[in-house]
């Protein structure tokens, strides 16, 4: 038995070495579909990021009253029947809208695509809170008699619901599932898709992240109990990462889905390429349920840069995760300050200051807001910084006004989440 195990182990090592020597296929982003609190297309979203337009408004949250939040104002009926909207979930509608928009954007002849070779990989922070809360509220109207509990509850709340609804809507029969990775999930969807494409599991991926979290009072209330829910008389100023008077997170919904392909396939069909997956890293703090860990974040960023074959000085934009919690922003700034010490030309920004925290969508959506920088060299700012917190005073911060960069060839996108999950994704300019 020991000999068999040794042989098996030896074979695994050999396989692993062989895999490392093989150059994996390059993966590119060829289409973008999104819905954000301040835009339902990439151009609208980007323009608002450059013009300093916030998408945060006041909404009524069950049991809590008016709260600042980011709501997406897209039309679900553009791609769904009324009945499907009724039966499905908000996350499902967001996913379908983004997936359809991405497919329309990528230029593929969808009717000729082999649906068995398409994968759907969507990051989610959580799923099912909205539907469960609604159903418990409904049940309370009937003296908690469970005969009034809907039979739709299970298909609505299974974790794969958002990806499954896309599969149903588009007739995709390849793998369709979600990746639960707290607020790092948007990056995880893209990273996982890149890996599946490199492994040859699929030929086309619909990947990114989604969130419907404004529909759940529980997320608002939990952040409030934690002392981490933003409040401000003007909702458009409530999300203020790095500002001295920041006081927490603005909860938002959103979605962003990319079409991703192997570079050779994309080039062969003459696709427009938004960017190429340069490198990435996912790691864990293993230190706390909610408190971030700057050491592990820095380690994650460094490993992603190494994976991309770059040095910190070759990163042109760092899109921060910062959520405007007093401690979280400082920890991330410590990590970034350590990795990018001496990198005079790096530009550091934050998208949550415009759209709040889109949770599972955050990584994918915030990345999308920065991809046009490859073309126009403009870096969108972090808004609402009236008085920069000295503990967040990184030298490359782009504050309140856009900045034209000397060069934009590599964008680093940070997304971190509860239970200590960190992700850093690098997208590089595509060169033929």
């Amino acid at each position: 038995m020991a000999t068999q195990n040794s042989l098996a182990h030896g074979r695994c090592v050999a396989d692993s070495l062989l895999l490392r020597r093989m150059k994996p296929p390059r993966i590119v982003l060829t289409g973008i579909g999104l819905t954000s609190p301040n835009g339902n297309t990439l151009s609208e979203y980007r323009q608002n990021l450059l013009n300093g337009v916030s998408g945060i408004e006041l909404i009524e949250v069950r049991y809590m009253g008016a709260q600042p939040a980011g709501v997406c104002h897209f039309d679900p009926l553009k791609y769904q029947k009324k009945k499907d909207v009724r039966i499905g979930t908000r996350a499902g509608s967001i996913s379908i809208f983004c997936a359809r928009e991405a497919l329309a954007d990528c230029g593929l002849d969808w009717d000729r695509v082999d649906k068995t070779r398409v994968g759907i990989y969507l990051g989610i922070t959580e799923h099912g809170n909205v539907e469960t809360e609604n159903e418990i509220y409904n049940l309370s109207l009937f003296k908690h008699d469970t005969r009034f509990w809907t039979h739709h509850h299970n298909p609505r709340t299974v974790a794969n619901n958002p990806a499954g609804e896309v599969s149903l809507n588009l007739g995709i029969t390849g793998p369709a599932y979600t990746l639960g990775a707290a607020c790092a999930a948007g990056n995880l969807g893209i990273i996982h898709a890149a890996q599946m494409l490199q492994l040859g599991e699929v030929d086309l991926a619909l990947a990114g992240g989604v969130s419907e979290s404004v529909g759940t009072f529980g997320i608002f209330a939990a952040f409030k109990s934690q002392g981490a829910l933003a409040s401000h008389p003007d909702p458009t100023k409530a999300s203020r990462p790095f500002d001295k008077k920041r006081n927490g997170i603005v909860v938002s919904e959103g979605g962003c889905i990319y079409t991703m392909e192997r570079r050779d396939d994309a080039l062969a069909r003459g696709a427009r390429i938004y960017g190429e997956v340069g490198g990435y890293c996912v790691n864990s703090d293993a230190t706390d349920y909610v408190l971030p860990n700057a050491v592990r974040q820095a380690e994650c960023i460094r490993k992603a840069i190494a994976h991309a074959g770059l040095t910190p000085a070759e990163i042109d934009i760092v899109n921060t995760h910062a959520t405007a919690t007093p401690q979280g922003d400082i920890q991330e700034c410590l990590a970034i300050g350590e990795v990018f010490a001496g990198c005079a030309d790096v530009n550091i920004n934050n998208t949550k200051s415009f759209i709040g925290h889109c949770m599972g969508a955050a990584g994918a959506l915030e990345l999308a807001g920065n991809l046009p920088s490859f073309d126009d060299l403009i870096v969108h700012p972090t808004i609402n910084v009236d008085e920069l917190d000295p503990q967040c005073a990184l030298s490359g911060l782009v504050l309140n006004q856009p900045r034209t960069a000397k060069r934009v060839d590599a964008i680093l996108n940070n997304s971190f989440g509860m239970l200590g999950i960190n992700s850093a994704l690098i997208i590089i300019r595509h060169r033929t």
Partner: protein, 87 residues
């Protein structure tokens, strides 16, 4: 409640369950599934709405009674009237 009133009531529930359907020409004597895009889950929704909105219980063995508008009216009208008599 008359049978026609009962049919209108069932149609108003179906309008919410199947909002994409045109209900202006539903034939009362034809099975609902033959003229509308309704599946078994939709019939569960109809049963649920009868329970929620009107306190009407339809046991599983009697779901077949909801096949057409006519059969709905035959089956549900006495239930509605019995409930009205209780109140």
């Amino acid at each position: 409640m008359t049978k026609d009133e009962c049919k209108q009531l069932v149609l108003s529930i179906i309008a919410d369950i199947a909002p994409d359907e045109d209900l202006s020409n539903v034939k009362p004597d034809v099975r609902l599934r033959e003229q509308l895009q309704l599946d078994s889950m939709d019939f569960l929704d109809i049963v649920m709405e009868l329970r929620k909105r009107h306190g009407i219980e339809v046991p599983e063995a009697e779901y077949i009674q909801l096949a057409s508008l006519d059969s709905c009216a035959e089956y549900l009208t006495p239930k509605f009237n019995a409930l009205a008599g209780q109140s």
